[in-house]
Symmetry: C2
Subunit: 176 residues, 2 copies
Amino acid sequence: MNFKLIKSEILFRGKVFDLQVDELEYNTGNRGIREIAVHPGGAVVVPVKNDGKIVMVRQFRYPFQKFFLELPAGKLDKGEDPLTCAARELEEETGYSTGDIVKLGKISTTPGFCTEVLHIYLTRNLKEGRHNREEGEYGMEILEFSPQEIEEKIIGGNIIDAKTICGIFMAKGYLS
Amino acid sequence: MNFKLIKSEILFRGKVFDLQVDELEYNTGNRGIREIAVHPGGAVVVPVKNDGKIVMVRQFRYPFQKFFLELPAGKLDKGEDPLTCAARELEEETGYSTGDIVKLGKISTTPGFCTEVLHIYLTRNLKEGRHNREEGEYGMEILEFSPQEIEEKIIGGNIIDAKTICGIFMAKGYLS
């Protein structure tokens, strides 16, 4: 390393992330600051129906005050296994449940300033059921698209959520 | 909407992002909090050399205390056009410059709690030059890979940066 840590402080403890600010000293003597959003991470699911369509959610994203089309996903509960989180969020958001779930990989959403890691899963052999959304998940809708329709929406700018684009990329070998 | 905004506060003004906390009241009378990392956004480049290889950077990511393999990218300066930012970051990080740059799209890295939008570009006909890195960009290395090697690294878990995976996905039509 070309620096040493001088001070590390949690300036805010949040429901979704904490704010950590570190002060560094470079070998040159210059000082620098690092701001970090400390996030517990989460899980993302690519739910593939027997007809090959992918189940997605349209949801209101508060920071943008807009609706986004995304794969089902959510934050890890404290100590929760990412696979359990993936199955739980799938069921809560869409009503679908499954025992057929495989890991595709993981992503870091924005590694320059945030510790968030999302674990990405593929689910098949879905069973329909009732969803169980939180009050904050206002106006959430379930929609289904073929992999080709999703790819067109990504290229056309109608899907801009990074985890969704990464999930579709990683699921490629499983999609028809 | 099923809520109204009660209060909005900037709790911290940072170099990379600000922390905004909003208090909401739902129609049911329940209250909720939204934590937002307010980020200026940035630009990402997929730099394609004449031999078809893609120029990438290996850089230290402080929140993970690890090196990540990524596409060249950086934050927008105040009032900066994303295309200008893309060309500037390419040159600063890799030394390559170009006049041949096309927009591929944009992504939202983590829309649940962060306003960051990254604009994604493809560059070709690169001219070699000298890079000009910041002190914080410790140990940065330039590496080149074929699109197929990059895809193998994504599937194999050796590239986990979301903007890089999205950039490669969006550049597909241009890569051989």
